[in-house]
Amino acid sequence: MRATIRCGLMLAFAAMFIGISLPVAAQESPYFVTYSHHLEQPGNLDVEFNPVIGTQRGGNNYLAGTTEFEYGVRAWWTTEFYLDSQSTFGDSTLFAGFRWENRFRPLMREHWINPVLYVEYENLGGADKAMIEVVGFDNESDFAPRNSELRGETKHELETKLILSSDFKGWNISENFIAEKNLSGEPWEFGYAAGASRPFRLEATPRPCNFCRENFLAGIEFYGGLGTAKNFTTSGTSHYAAPILGWQLPSGVTLRVSPGFGLNQNSHRLVLRWGISYEIAGFGRRLRRLFR
C-alpha cells in the first residue's frame, strides 16, 4: 500500500514538473458523481483533488477525498487512477485505498445518446468515505463506527457502469447505471447517477477573461442505490440531490462546488463536495520524450 502512495506522489510531482507551464482548458463536465461521454483528450493528464465533508448522525462528521489522475490514452479511451483518504473528526486520519478505472467509447461518432463503457477495480478499506458512487444498500449508518473498526475490512470490487450522455442546445444530460460486484462473492449491487448541466453563456467572448459567464457552468445531479441482484429496490438505501457550480479558468484550472442533500433517512443530511482540477496538455508526449 505504501508503494501505491509513493507511486501516486511521484506521479503528482512528475505531472507538476513536466506540465506546470502547459495549461489547457478542457471540456470538463462539472459533475462529481455522474459521468458524461466526454473523455480526456488523448495525451493530456488531468490532476484532480476532490474533498468532501459529510455530516454523520450517530457518529462524527468527516472529511474525505480523492486525488485523481485522469489520462487520455486514446480519443476513445480514458484511464484514471484514484487515491482515497479520509479524516473523521475526533477520530483518526487514514489512507482508504485506490481505484483504477477505464472508460471506452464504443461508437466513433456523436449520436443523440452516446454510450460509454466503464470498468473499475477498487481496493478500498471499509473506512473509505469518499462516496463517489452509491450502490446496493449503502447507508449513512455504514460510516458511523470508529475508524479502528472500519479499517479492518478490505474490499476488492469490480465496478461497471453504462454511461449514456447527450448534448443538446448547450445542455449535457447524462445517466449512469452502476453494477458493482465484491469479488469475495457477495451479490451484484446496483446504483444510478444522473445529471444535467449547462454553461451560463454559450458563445465565447472575443477576449480572454476569467470572470465572464462563459467560464461558469451550473447543473444538478442525482444519485443513489438500487439494491442488489436479490432485492432490486430504491428503498432501504440512500439517495441524494446535488446542485453544482463549476468555474473553468482559461489557465486550465477548474473549480467546482456541490452541496448534496440527502433525500431520505438513510442518507447523510449534507454532503458538501468541492474540487480543483488542472489539465496538463501533451503530458504523454513529454513523458515519452524523457525516456527517449
Binding site: 471540456q27 487520455g72 486514446r74 476513445w76 448547450g170 454559450l202 458563445e203 477576449r207 501533451g282
Partner: protein, 133 residues
Amino acid sequence: MSRLLLPASLLLISLIAVTGAARQQAVAERHVHPELAQVPAETRDRKNPYEGQADAVLAGGKLYRQHCAECHGNDARGMGRAVNLRSRAVQDATPGELAWILRNGNLAAGMPSWSGLPEQRRWQIVSYIKSLR
C-alpha cells in the same frame, strides 16, 4: 472570324483542362482527409451563423488557443498526426463540414469529439479556421 476560332477553342480547352486539374487536385487533397467525405450531405451545406463577424473570429481564435493549438500548433500548420488547418483541403471544406468534424472528432485518428463545447463556440472556431486562408 474563322481565324479567331482556333485560338478561342484552344483557350477554352485550356481553361477546361486547368479547371479540371484544379478540381482533381482538390479531390486528391480531400482524399488526404477522408473524414471530410464522411460528412452527411445535409450538414455539409449548413451556414455558419457567425460568418463575416470579426468578433467571432477573435472568439474563435481564443477558443482555438485554449483547445486546439496543443495539437494543431499555434500557427495551425499541424503537428504529428494533427492536420494542417491552413491546407487547401481544410480551407476548401465548407463551414458545415468543419463544424461536423469538430462535433464528431475523428476518434480513430486521435482527434477528440468537441461536442462538449456548445455549438455556438464550435461555429466560432470554424470562423477562425476559415480566417486562416
